[in-house]
Symmetry: C2
Subunit: 205 residues, 2 copies
């Protein structure tokens, strides 16, 4: 039961940060959203910062699976990138332009003010870069190309998310996808090898 | 004097949001940073939201000049884009990875929670897209290409800013510049025409 309460608190905090970013979420909000009494929050966690760190780390691990889950289906890197941005645009439209990445929005908010959260967000981004690079190496790219496409893809998505959420318009996502995919069209991705894949992306999965 | 106090308040608020984003900035912080008494804040402005709206609008107008000021010097679109990201990377390194764009960080924080501020940030982004498109049309691009490069450039910069600030590393900016410039290398920019330029970017200047 202790484990379940802990997870309920983290899930509630993740959902609140997803909608309200970090500063606007209070311990009282987490109490109300999780149903856990305030004493239980302080039994499991030292502080709001600690709750946020664990919730963002969990969210980061879950998000690390999303891009590979889309790219898996494509034999061409340019097509795969188009599909990632197309899916993101569809998801934003369907959700009424919900925040697609609480790690990015919390990082933008606290990078100069809440150092432990900056460190957590940096670890999540580093984890994505490592996992994505490993994934694309597993699909046959050189290490350098794999890191380039991973870092460029995450950056272009984060920027387009902010613009699209703010403008309530998918145009920034569709343009980012068109521009980024044009660099990678014609670059073949090798078939997924069950032997290579778990090793390559293992740490983040 | 009334005008000067107003401007002092807005400049202090802009600087505070630059470092602390929006939620963590209180009216008391603006009082302390501006030196203006609290009564003066409420004489000039209805609320913190109104101060933030005007400060972000001013910041947006100032930032609209930055990209043209760099691109002006280049006859090739790809080279110009490389220069924009190179300058941004230098600026981040020099400032110890300061926030390069309070409009982006505030937008990421409040897009789902403070509707008037979302609207202000959307108007700033729209203004940048219009001014940038006008600028590149003035340098000889088609309207469609001009809008594409403008939206892609703003999105890639915003995303790379968040990653670079969080990671304390310029790699995301340098990779974004390399990837984006590769699409546009070899596309000539025509010489600046004094007659075309003020009309094209006039509204945002």
């Amino acid at each position: 039961m202790a484990r379940s309460t802990r997870e309920t608190i983290l899930a509630a905090a993740a959902e609140l940060m997803h909608r309200k970013s970090y500063g606007a979420v209070g311990m009282k909000d987490i109490v109300a959203a999780s149903g856990a009494p305030i004493g239980s929050l302080y039994h499991h966690f030292d502080s709001k910062v600690q709750i946020a760190r664990e919730a963002l780390t969990n969210a980061g691990a879950a998000y690390a699976l999303l891009i590979p889950s889309i790219v898996d289906g494509y034999p061409d890197l340019g097509q795969a990138i188009d599909a990632v941005f197309g899916q993101a645009a569809d998801d934003m439209q369907t959700t009424g332009f919900a925040n697609m990445c609480p790690v990015g929005s919390v990082a933008a908010e606290v990078a100069d003010t809440v150092e432990p959260l900056r460190e957590t967000c940096a670890a999540v981004f580093d984890g994505w870069f490592g996992a994505g690079t490993g994934y694309f190496v597993g699909r046959g790219l050189s290490a350098e190309d794999a890191r380039e496409v991973t870092v460029a893809l995450v950056g272009a998505l984060e920027g387009a998310f902010v613009l699209a959420r703010t403008l309530r318009d998918t145009e920034p996502l569709l343009i980012a996808g068109r521009v980024l995919s044009s660099r990678y069209r014609g670059i073949a991705l090798s078939a997924l090898s069950p032997r290579v894949l778990p090793t390559a992306v293992g740490p983040a999965r």
